[in-house]
């Protein structure tokens, strides 16, 4: 890439026609022809791009095309029906409800998870004793290890474990609550009551992810020179002020990246839901778009319609990422660095 650019610049700058330019471009061309160069391009550019086009771009293009058809998914035949799948989608109350659930999750899950992760990360890196070197709480490496545990367990297992914990009759949670004398929780269906189901599910997702984002933030904070924190401390900043004015601005790009990753997860959430609420939950309060897409495609045999759902989901995901970039920029960040 650099070579290409500099070659271009050389030829562009040379306004007076002369030997220099010819030599430059000839040298560029000759160098380009070497086996090294060709094989390099082949291995690092052509093959990956071909794979990307073949296995990522083309399925998306095809899915987008299928969303304009009435394909059932089980025949090679399909009719082009224009945008009517989309028209149907935006009058489909179940899908709109699923979309609403997803959007709510895309805001609650990242904010709570990252808030907690930031809090813990601060504690174990710079939140320790205010005397001596900048350090975390005592035994911070122990906390760091155990908080990562949930992330090691596959999401589906987390879902299954928690569906047992939430079990109304034999579950751990109601067992503890009733033992504490809270009789109103006898046989209370955490996942079956429309008031609690979505929060119960979000809690599981947050529980599973806090550790990972905590470790991510710890790594970022460790990259900040300790002198900065020391200077802040000498100026009289307390722990909270340090976190708000020093830590977060300095690791802003990590926070943005984390936000986008976890937001995408919350917009998907299929695995957690498959284990916790395979039926969409009470009054569909935990139904997510991915679940609705799956049922539409495989149980109802409406692949065209399901593809339209997929396209909408992808658009929402992109819009979400755009929103996170925009918010970060409004508050003074440079999103380009986030890459």
């Amino acid at each position: 890439m650099t070579t290409l650019a500099s070659g271009g610049v050389t030829s562009g700058v040379s306004a007076p026609p002369g030997g220099l330019r010819r030599i430059g471009s000839a040298r560029w061309r000759r160098r380009n022809l070497t086996f090294d160069k060709i094989s390099f391009f082949l291995v690092f550019l052509v093959i990956p791009v071909a794979f990307y086009v073949g296995f990522v771009v083309s399925p998306f293009v095809q899915a987008a095309y299928f969303s304009l058809t009435d394909w059932t998914g089980f025949t090679p035949a399909m009719n082009f029906i224009g945008l009517s799948n989309y028209a149907k989608l935006f009058t489909d109350s179940t899908f709109l409800q699923a979309m609403g659930n997803n959007i709510l999750m895309a805001f609650v899950v990242p904010i709570v998870t990252l808030g907690l992760a930031m809090f813990f990360a601060t504690l174990v890196t710079v939140g320790g004793s205010t005397r001596g070197n900048i350090k975390g709480l005592r035994n911070s490496s122990f906390y760091r290890v155990i908080s990562f545990f949930p992330y090691v367990i596959p999401a589906i297992v987390i879902g299954l474990i928690w569906s047992q914990i939430y079990d109304p009759s034999a579950g751990l949670l109601n067992g503890i609550l009733t033992r504490l004398g809270l009789e109103q929780f006898t046989s209370f269906a955490w996942l079956g009551d429309p008031r609690t189901a979505r929060w119960a599910v979000m809690f599981v997702i947050i529980w599973g992810l806090v550790g990972f984002y905590m470790v991510l933030f710890i790594a970022a904070i460790k990259g900040v020179p300790a002198e900065v924190f020391e200077a802040a401390r000498i100026d009289g900043a307390g722990r909270f002020r340090t976190a708000i004015s020093i830590t977060i601005p300095l690791i802003r790009e990590n926070v943005q990246t984390a936000f986008i990753y976890i937001g995408i997860l919350a917009l998907d959430a299929f695995v957690y839901m498959a284990a916790l609420e395979p039926g969409g939950g009470p009054d569909n309060t935990t139904l997510v778009m991915a679940q609705q897409l799956f049922t539409t495609a495989f149980a109802k045999g409406q692949f065209g319609y399901a593809c339209a759902m997929g396209v909408v989901l992808a658009v929402i995901t992109l819009a979400y990422a755009g929103l996170v970039f925009a918010v970060n920029r409004i508050f003074g960040g440079k999103s380009e660095v986030g890459e």
């Binding site: 009759s169 269906a189 996942l191 009551d193 569909n284 495609a297």
Partner: protein, 472 residues
Amino acid sequence: MDINSRPLGRRDFLRGSLAAAALAATGSLAACATSGTGTSTSQSSAPAGQVSDTNPFGVQSGSTVDAVIFKGGYGIDYAEFAGKQVEAKQQGVTVKVTPTTKVAQTLQPRFVAGNPPDVIDNSGAGLIGINTIRDQLAELNDVIEAKNYEGTVIKDTLYPGVTNPGTFDGKFIVLNYALTVYAIWYSASLFDQMGWTVPKTYDEMLALGEEAKGKGKYLLGWGKEAATYYQTMAIGSAIKEGGDEVRLALENLKPDCWSLPPIQDVFNGLKKIIDAGYMKPGGSGTVFTAAQAQWSDAEDFILYPSGGWIENEMKDQTKSGFKMTGAPEPVVSSNSKMPWEALHSTAGEGYIVPSQGKNVAGGKEFLRAMLSKDAAVNFAKTKLSSTIVKGTVPADGFGSTALQSQIQMLEKAGSNIFSWNFVDLYGMNTDQLVVWNSFLSGDSDVAKLTKGLQDITDKVAKDDSIKKVQVS
């Protein structure tokens, strides 16, 4: 760049399922575009073998039968057994039995590519909606009109009405193999011990609820994925009460079908039981197998509406001495149009033969083997469940009280056997579960339940893109 591509990259299952399908589809799509024809042109390309009494479909010697079998509660060994029978009877034919747990996901690309298996056991949670593929299936009338391996015409060996659930718009295309009896299940030993009798009406059920409460037990219970078992029971009761009229209104997705008096009576009967607190609370948050264990193992509640598979499903979680026994679903009043003994029975494990398969005759021969005595008896004996073939279960039910009672219920019902298809046919169960969970947990009332179910029905009825099956 990285971040922007990430959202798309994460769409694993769009990519996973569609990429495979789409890639497989491209070839045949192109072909379709040029030829411009529809599908379902039966192309039994394999040269037919000699048709004879012992080879009624003309299976070609040396051909292979590609059977894809759902591997669920019944396993696949019974299908392998039938495969061996085919190989023994038809010289040089090989049967390849492949198990799958997700039928639709596994076979969808093969249907698109026009290369489906010769015979499929289309069952389980991930089955292919029959409505989606019914144009591509071979009619199976010749299978039941053929003679089995013992020389009797197969049709004459089957229980009455077993081909109805597999018949769509007059075409018999799905052979449902395992006979399923829907009933209310209870422990005969517990009932004897307590001196209880099986309730025949909703009022009797309510009264039994009171008695059970005295013993510290609930009457009924449910699990969140199986809330619609109560819908199955309610529809069964309503059909007994109001006759075929009710069944046809539901099957044909008639406006206000859920408001018919017999259905409303049943809903009100259930509501009384729920309001009286005889339903074990918390079902909408309980995994259904855990809920079923509360009945079969802990005996927290005493009646459970389900299909005959319940015994096999709960085999490891049934209290010893629990004599699992079934009784027909209750009626509303003593002057119901069908007697209490009338039975909701249908057949499950839907076997289909795609008309585009390479060896359609082989697929049919496989079904013929399954319907012959050896394979049917083998199934009944190893799965403790009857096939649609009569007379394969001895009086002792191979030692199973549940199987015994199924056969007895079938005998008592005589020709009063009914079933319906609309729930599975239009894939309504997922939506209905939501409505039923809130009804059973006492959060909604009969009016809300009726409206919720009617909305689901109307949505399908009004959607022109869904092909409807006219039932009469």
